[in-house]
Symmetry: D2
């Protein structure tokens, strides 16, 4: 911490906020520093070079993101619109600091939503034998659009390990339960059958093991015996979009560090 | 509902509150009626007989509890004191409408707490070969003290199926996780490893399948990467006692109806 | 309760759910009964006549609503879109059982949103001297569209007492604070200055005393010293739309009874 | 940040965690650094001198606390026991890193609780004409016991400005409402009358303006029309002790910085 702070200070860089976390169990130290380059006495390559030198000396992994280089986000959807709308409205309200040039779907249903927000909508249907072909098309779109982050906004398809590996810790999924409870399909039906008193949602990075990736955020809403499966779904929609909205915002602001199967979220 | 309301009305009984719930999925109707006998024009046996007649005619199961016949509660503990204290303080504050004549433990540690509240504390140690013998002793104490309800306030022992069967839907357990997540032992360690963002607790009726009984109440507290296992345990203590306190209160006030593996809680 | 249940039963009406509440302090009893007319042995006027007779005999006020007669809602907005979108999306998802034929605004900004959902948008600007004239026009629109309920979805104008009186307990407002804290203008700035640790929102029926009407629903989101006024506004948008969504749903389902300056919400 | 980190690093001090916050509105920067002296290459006075020199150069106010110098806490109570028990149980569970040598009360009722935890209980009755005399006695006790922090655990007396001034930002009060709503007396009655849907509690530093001091923590519990004033009081007890417990813990761990009428809480 001292070394990095000194490097920044020596180059006229003003630290506006910083967060640190140490996990003694795994012997790792994490740090996020936000700084203002307005008073910097050098250019970006020089600064990065100084950081790299310091990091190398102390065995640190590092990454710099610039506020004027917005991340480019693709949203994958199927037929549910609530998470898609929520992200697009948050984006328009200035909550999500990114560009959203692309929406990909295996169904045509939400094309009109994309049109309302003037975003390209690519309908890539999946037929029985061409799931990998569809994924290949999707990945080509991501490459063409220089996408940094993929948000699975209730995209009801499992991605291949290869796809996930190519966007490691950059694919955010929303799972409609409080993981690790109700892993797998139809969690609201599972919840109703089990008679739980809370309905949850979990935003996590997608990994090869479905529903097992590092958790970004979770929340719950109270439920009761009065709730039908339909009521649980309604409550679920609310908690899903809240949780996904926060997770995406934190990711975009580089507030999330992944280690092992866990996250540090400097929220 | 009409029939029962009419029976009560016809006997001068004033309904002070009522709750109904229908579960079309299983084709069952549930009702809880609280009434004031002050203006009743008959004695209790006559009223019960009229209710029984009405219930029989309509195929209803029923039960009447009288406010002047307080339930008798035994609390089972091991070494953790937070849930025990919480229940005893709530009782003294008038939140729990019951008598607590007995505390049973497999450890001597909490005898002093019982003494402070002037409650009999029976230390029944478990030795390697006498687990069932210890349980037999415990059950004899319950019988002698005419116990209606057993609260497992972090009692770290599994009860036999026979014990549970004898107090079906009358043994309340607090499980230190958001069931069905983290079933089994050391849930806070499991939670830390999984990197969850919420810590939960679940109060449920004990059944032969451990951690699978009908859920009375659940709640959560936010957690983060900053929380050590010790922090999670601290948060867990808070949510455990809140959840257990509510569950016990609702049970004592006859607000809980069990069907299948679920509960209706007229809270 | 007995009398009404008997009336319904005698006409072949099947009660599907019911809720009761007694407030001994004011000596009032409240009841909401949902019933299914499928097995009724009479027509609606006959049933209503029987209810009226029973109610008159026992001094009860009553009201019947039919599921096939959807309430007609007008939404009033200014420039903020988050509450408007939220209501329209909930409506489309089937959460709000009503028709929304009309959106009224003192600004043109949100016309496009209305167009996306194919709802008439009437822009009624307020000029310095014609506030009452604008209101007169708005009320004419409400009358023409046979509006039952007005939702002020961050409509930044105070309505006249006359308007409010004409739609007593039928105008739902969302106030962007936890009332009665931060009554008045710019509550997020007030909250930041006071250094509160929670940000709230309140849905209430509009009354002549601004911010003093019967409360339908309230909720909060945690805040901290890290939150700028902008962050509080962001959190506020989330809690506002959650609270308003619930309040409107409960009102539409006739779950809210007003007495004095308070509500009974049979949620 | 860089300068201080360098000072610590230069003296062999290992930073275990750090938090920073900048408030551009008032032009202030706040920092909390936790460090481990195990590898320090100097003694404490030398380290403090180096910190003082650095701080003076950069115009910073600073304070160092050592983990082996536990703060000494006095708890003031009247007749309510729930907050007192809660603090004492948290202390015994190791949640509160302090010594609690003294409990002061204007009533004799809770002497037995103090005895159970083997803490001195001083009963200082207030008679009509000797309020200041009683306060003088209390302050003498605080001085004798070398008290650092005073916790008003539902102490139903107003302290003099002089008392408060002597323990500025070191007297923690729990107010039984969500301030600034329901300032003043009987907030649960006020809440019931207003028909609010949430019950809150606020922990704040005591200031001359009652209920106006810097807020440490707040929380709420849901309420409904079903809650009597007694129910609200019960819910209030739960939220009060949760909020007070967190506030006291944060204060004891030097996580709270006061500026203006606000706090930075590095929780």
């Amino acid at each position: 911490m001292a070394a990095l702070a000194q490097v920044l200070s020596a180059h006229g860089v003003n630290i506006t906020s910083a967060d640190q976390h140490a996990d003694p169990g795994v012997g790792q130290f994490f740090q996020r520093i936000a700084f203002d380059l307005g008073s910097a006495t050098c250019d970006r390559p020089t600064l990065e070079s100084a950081i790299a030198h310091c990091a190398h000396r102390l065995g640190m992994r590092w990454r710099v993101g610039y506020g004027d280089a917005k991340k480019r986000v693709a949203i994958f959807v199927s037929k549910y619109e609530h998470c898609l709308y929520d992200l697009l409205l948050r984006h328009r309200a200035g909550e999500l600091d990114c560009e959203i040039p692309l929406i990909v779907s295996n169904h045509p249903d939400l094309a009109e939503v994309a049109a309302q927000f003037k975003i390209e909508y690519r309908y890539l249907p999946i037929e029985r034998d061409d799931k990998l072909e569809q994924e290949r098309q999707a990945r080509a779109l991501l490459t063409d659009a220089r996408i940094d982050v993929v948000v699975l906004a209730r995209y009801m398809q499992i991605l291949s390990d290869e796809f996930i590996g190519a966007y490691r810790d950059r694919i955010i999924n929303i799972h409609h339960s409080f993981l690790p409870a109700f892993i797998g399909g139809r969690p609201y039906h599972q919840a109703a059958t089990r008679g739980v008193k809370l309905i949850g949602a979990t935003a996590h990075y997608a990994t090869a093991d479905l529903d097992e990736g590092p958790i970004l955020e979770q929340d719950v809403i109270r439920a009761s015996h009065r709730d039908t499966v339909g009521d649980l779904m309604r409550k679920g929609r609310d908690v899903e979009r809240m949780v996904l909205g926060r997770a995406v915002r934190w990711h975009l602001e580089d507030r999330v560090l992944v280690y092992g199967n866990r996250t540090v979220v400097f929220a």
